[in-house]
């Protein structure tokens, strides 16, 4: 059903740390390999070895350059997958009920057996989080690895999304953002986690941790060698004998 369920307390999602992501695309490929033989249709690739290859991916990394007014330009890697919005427009537009938001944990899914591949949900999503598989004609999107996080066939510590488990830099965190005491919620509070395009009113569950300030000299610290130097230095090696005595 494409009306949104009354939101439960559990809001599973990702927290992505823009200060830490090195843009390695590990999560992109890990996601693809987990999902291509997993939930629903495989993630196909058209013209796989030629020009204009179009493949289905549920997670992609953008790279932005940001130019501050009076500091060097910065490069910020920007992973993007479904944000499992609380007010998910992709769900309400779906004519078939294939798109739905789970009441128990807030995960937004597509029931591919019901999907007619009209594409409207992808139009409704502001974040570009849905991609139509060209071979199967069904809408694909991040499942938050719903087939991992509860999967009793895999060890408990591995019951996290594939992208989270693989991220070498540890820039992706998974947890319950509905629980103010969860690690992810604390991280969001501590680091000022942000919503993307808040003006769209989608209330994303996934949060982004902003990059920490860069290229700013640590203020107030005695980062001045003259100040650190022994006062009575005479000549280049004046301090040496005294220093030697001390050892």
């Amino acid at each position: 059903m494409t009306t949104l369920p009354a939101c439960g307390d559990v809001k599973l999602g990702l927290v992505i740390d823009l200060d830490t992501c090195v843009g390695c695309h590990a999560c992109v490929i890990s996601c693809k390999e987990w999902n291509t033989g997993g939930y629903g249709a495989p993630l196909s690739d058209q013209n796989a070895y030629g020009a204009d290859t179009v493949g289905t991916f549920l997670n992609r990394i953008h790279t932005f350059e940001v130019q501050p007014e009076d500091a060097p330009a910065q490069v910020i890697h920007f992973p993007k997958s479904c944000l499992h919005c609380e007010d998910a427009p992709c769900v309400t537009v779906c004519p078939t009920g294939a798109s739905y938001k789970r009441a128990e944990d807030g995960i937004v899914l597509v029931n591919e057996d019901d999907c007619i591949g009209c594409g409207l949900c992808a139009w409704a999503c502001p974040y570009g989080a849905r991609e139509m598989d060209q071979a199967e004609g069904v809408m694909k999107k991040c499942t938050l690895c719903v087939d991992r996080i509860y999967n009793e066939n895999i060890p408990e510590e591995d019951r996290v999304p594939s992208c989270v488990r693989t991220c070498p830099a540890g820039a992706r965190h998974f947890g319950d953002l509905g629980d103010a005491n969860s690690d992810v919620s604390k991280l969001v509070a501590e680091r000022g986690g942000m919503d993307l395009m808040p003006e769209q009113g989608t209330k994303p569950v996934n949060k982004y941790l902003p990059p920490r300030p860069k290229d700013v000299a640590a203020a107030g610290e005695p980062f001045n060698l003259a100040a650190l130097a022994e006062p009575e230095t005479k000549g280049f090696l004046g301090w040496l004998d005294k220093a030697l005595e001390k050892i």
Partner: protein, 943 residues
């Protein structure tokens, strides 16, 4: 409204039938992987959580292993060339014919003149085996790719402190508070560095990226130093200048653990001028102020002088430290003097030096762990200087790279931050001083074996690979006066020298996994010409070429005989402590690969092929007394070969019962035990031995116990590198072996035993007006050199590469989105698409490495963007410097190690109006494997 029934979802679907644990091969990082098998196909590859290297994580390439393994570009059967070289026309043959052909080419060479075989391996992970094979064959002409890769880094590290960065060591990620990373895009230690950066970020430690380009690791650095390429040495020495001026160096550390105290002969007339003054037992002497006498450096309880003039047996001497301090006190190293050239402000240099000093000394850390040093002195705790460094090819791949790497190590040592808590630490079998490495070997008789390992660390001119007439003994001219300390050989010169017949012609060239006609070479177009060039008789100038690859690469097209390898999931392999192991600073470790999937083609693991071919050639060590083949295959070799008694390729599960670590008899069940253990073996270093390893008694004992060395070998860090001074003495006209006259001045200039900076060669020679820009390449994290392009998933990320142009250049030339440019060096010109980037040194352009492809290679379609729009920077880089008019061939390499100077490249740019295709467009090669399919939907059967 009726309540909505969510579809019934199976949240516990079956993942796989079985998990097989092996080692990734998509790069040299060698992470542990869990290969999930379903219906005998690979379902999913994930990182092995228990593995010391990656602790569960996996990079993009590792996860794309499925597409690599099932690549349409896989070779299927041995191939014999039927067309012209380079065309790619082959006939499939049986293995027996292939092996007999190889034997018929190689046996006469071995019998007559073994050096006429040049056997070079690329990104080889079995060098201890391939080099041994070459040694048995008797040819001096063996090396892997290290000479064009990062030998400056490796050799500078070994000569200075007994190990370098990357797989030699790592920062103490859990404790360091300030981390500076120089010239790294990706590195071999790629997952560990990312994990480490993640740890630093989680702790809020400061990361400083020194790199002309602010991408990847540098993008997340808290501070970016957008240095001008080739000037890191100056920048580092300016910080050294500042630290010394302020007295902010770790005097105690220098006094105890380095040769800062060694007395250097100051008698200019002496043949030993500039060498250490030594005692009768050959031990370097230091001045003991307490006894007012010179004593051996390792005397107990001595606190040697670090400045002053002392006379030992009539020889005037000065401690190294005084020479060092005096050298860097020079105002030419002052921040004010170097700032402009480096493109780094005076304030930044001063502040960073101060931040380093502050963090190292004001924020020192103390670990409550008593330990005993090699002089017998007991320390009740471990003092840490929590600053650490890492560097790679950005400082290494320049013609001043060796000295720059040395400068960085000197900085680390002055701060006392090597092998201490919070600093940089070695991974076993490092630290290992020069003395623990063999010198180079290069002598053999026809039909005999080489006198020892090819590649080693020369101690002085006596170790050069020269014949009686002073001619190069090796085809790559490694260990000659042109690059005396070329510890990894010069693979980039092999084809060029063999073609020129300089120093001599060869009969057979055998190569293994190196795309030498393409991205692996400088001057790719020229190299293709050399490989196809014929002499007056219509014979190829380089007569026979045997090549082993697993895929239909560009290089395959040039081979006369192709030996198709398996993929990494289909063969046995060992990542050995004899080689380049996977150890961590806290543990020794090694690992294996094993056939988790059986090959579905007529291919064989190259190492097994060498085992077979070696026996056919009757190589000792691979043949039984009765002439039969000694090892059935590589797996058999791995388990049963012994280098030294009790020491073999694998250190784990040794002894008949597999219960011995490090040393022990061969164990017939060893590989199975590795498999049962997750594909690797690990042995943790005792707590007491975790730091100060070169001087730590507990560490030395542990290392002997597990077979890293046969006896304890404590040593001091070499701020002053005596072997360099020996080469300099030769150039000054002293000693028996002296360089030819045309090389004297450069050896005098560049072999300074204390780190220096000089302008990179290409820059010295070309006009800055004509070629005002620097051109660089970087490795994309999601691609491994040329292999990635056959991967349906990865090539969607990097299917083409633009030239990134700094905002400054962009504006100057009025570029617009979608524009193309001609980029020219002294050597050639390419036409490429451009993209603006502001987070880039203003005078620099760069691109991703090895994305451009030759049409017909890698089973790609002819219209693939890799060959339409992708390009190689290599067309602009020559293996030789522009001619100086002296009739000499001067290699575009570091004068000390021969490291290829990829990043010295100078270029100029102009708009290319109307261009739509990258140039040069090399004519297509034929594909021996056809083209890949149009559609891929991997995993269909399970969904």
């Amino acid at each position: 409204m009726p309540p909505f029934d969510e579809p019934k979802l199976d949240t516990s679907p079956k993942v796989s039938d079985e998990i097989r644990k092996t080692t990734c091969y998509m790069c040299a990082c060698r992470c542990g992987i869990n290969v999930h098998m379903r219906d005998n196909k690979v379902r999913y590859i994930e990182g092995n959580r228990d593995h010391p290297v990656n602790k569960g994580v996996l990079c993009a390439k590792g996860s794309a292993g499925i597409m690599q393994h099932y690549s349409p570009a896989r070779l299927k059967k041995p191939l014999k060339r039927v067309g012209e070289r380079g065309e790619g026309k082959f006939e499939e043959i049986e293995w027996e014919e292939a092996l007999e052909t190889a034997k018929s080419w190689l046996a006469p060479v071995r019998a007559k003149d073994p050096k006429k075989l040049a056997f070079f391996t690329g990104r080889d992970q079995s060098q201890s085996f391939t080099s041994w094979w070459a040694q048995l064959f008797g040819t001096p002409n063996y090396a892997a790719h290290g000479g064009f890769c990062s030998v400056n880094m490796a050799a500078a590290g070994i000569y200075t402190m007994g190990g370098a960065f990357w797989e030699f060591g790592a920062p103490d990620w859990e404790r360091t508070k300030m981390f500076m990373i120089f010239g790294v895009a990706e590195d071999h230690d790629s997952n560990p560095i990312k994990m480490g950066l993640g740890r630093l970020k989680a702790r809020g430690a400061k990361v400083v990226g020194v790199n002309p380009v602010r991408s990847g690791y540098n993008a997340i650095a808290d501070e970016w130093v957008g240095i001008t390429p080739g000037t890191d040495g100056l920048f580092i020495l300016a910080m050294v200048h500042e630290l010394l001026k302020a007295g902010k160096v770790d005097v105690g550390y220098l006094n105890r653990y380095t040769n800062a105290t060694y007395l250097v002969n100051q008698d200019e007339a002496s043949d030993e001028h500039g060498l250490f003054i030594k005692g009768e037992d050959g031990k370097p002497l230091v001045w003991d102020p307490a006894s007012n006498s010179a004593v051996a450096f390792d005397t107990a309880n001595v606190k040697p002088a670090m400045q002053g003039d002392f006379t030992v047996n009539g020889v005037p001497g000065k401690p190294v430290f005084e020479l060092l301090a005096a050298k860097y006190a020079d105002e030419k190293y002052a921040p004010e003097a170097v700032s402009e050239r480096c493109g780094v402000s005076v304030e930044t240099i001063k502040r960073l030096a101060a931040e380093l000093a502050h963090t190292a000394f004001e924020e020192e850390i103390v670990v409550d762990q008593p330990w005993t040093d090699f002089r017998g002195m007991k320390h009740d705790k471990m003092i840490g200087r929590p600053v650490s460094f890492h560097a790679m090819r950005g400082i290494s791949a320049h013609s001043n790279g060796f000295q720059t790497c040395r400068a960085l190590h000197m900085l680390q040592i002055l701060l006392g931050s090597v092998e201490c808590p919070g600093g940089f630490r070695f991974k076993p079998p490092y630290p290992k001083p020069v003395e623990a490495h063999p010198p180079p070997h290069h002598t053999s008789e026809p039909g005999g074996t080489l006198d020892g390992p090819h590649l080693g660390y020369p101690r002085g001119p006596e170790n050069l690979a020269l014949d009686e007439d002073g001619n190069a003994k090796r085809i790559d001219k490694a260990y000659t006066w042109e690059h005396p300390m070329s510890a990894h050989g010069l693979m980039h010169m092999v084809i060029s020298n063999a073609h020129a017949g300089d120093p001599y012609k060869i009969d057979v060239m055998m190569m293994y996994m190196a795309n030498m006609s393409w991205n692996s070479s400088m001057n790719s177009g020229g190299v293709m010409n050399m490989l196809t060039d014929k002499d007056e008789n219509g014979e190829y100038v380089i007569p026979k070429l045997i090549y082993s690859d697993a895929y239909s690469s560009e290089m395959v097209a040039f081979a006369d005989l192709v030996l198709p390898d398996t993929t990494y999931l289909e063969r046995h392999d060992c990542i050995s402590l004899l080689d380049r192991p996977i150890c961590e600073p806290e543990a020794a470790a090694d690992s294996i690969r094993w056939p988790v999937v059986e090959p579905d083609r007529d291919v064989r693991g190259f190492q097994s092929v060498l085992v077979d071919l070696g026996a056919r050639l009757g190589l000792p060590g691979l043949t039984n007394d009765d002439g039969s083949q000694k090892y059935e295959d590589y797996a058999d070799y791995i388990m049963n070969h012994q280098r030294r008694p009790g020491v073999g390729p694998l250190s784990g599960f040794r002894g008949e019962n597999g219960d011995q670590d490090g040393r022990g008899d061969p164990n017939p069940n060893q590989i199975q035990q590795y498999i049962d253990n997750g594909g690797f073996w690990i042995n943790h270093i005792p707590e007491e031995a975790l730091y100060f390893k070169p001087w730590n008694k507990a560490y030395q004992e542990w290392a002997v116990k597990i077979g890293l060395f046969d006896k304890e070998q404590p040593y001091l860090f070499q701020l002053y590198v005596e072997p360099m001074r020996k080469f300099q003495l030769g150039a000054e006209g002293k000693g028996e072996r002296q360089p030819p006259n045309h090389l004297r001045q450069r050896i005098k200039d560049y072999f300074d035993p204390l780190p220096i900076w000089y302008e990179p060669f290409e820059q010295q020679q070309v006009s800055a007006e004509e070629f005002p820009l620097h051109a660089l390449t970087q490795r994309p994290a999601a691609m491994y050199h040329s292999w990635g392009s056959q991967n349906a998933w990865l090539r969607q990320i990097h299917g083409q590469n633009p030239l990134y142009v700094s905002g400054e250049i962009w504006e100057e030339h009025g570029f617009k989105e979608g524009d193309w440019a001609n980029l020219a060096s002294t050597h050639g010109q390419i036409t490429v698409p451009v993209v603006r980037m502001d987070a880039l040194n203003g005078k620099t352009v760069w691109t991703w490495n090895a994305i451009g492809k030759r049409k017909g290679a890698w089973a790609l379609k002819p219209n693939a963007p890799e060959s339409e729009k992708g390009f190689l920077m290599n067309h602009l880089i020559h293996e030789l410097l522009p001619p100086k008019g002296d009739g000499m061939r001067w290699a575009n390499s570091d004068p000390i190690t021969g490291q290829a100077a990829w990043f010295d490249l100078r270029v100029r740019i102009e708009k290319a109006d109307g261009a739509t295709q990258s140039l040069p467009a090399i004519p297509a090669q034929q594909s021996p494997v056809g083209e890949g399919p149009d559609h891929v939907a991997y995993g269909e059967e399970w969904s």
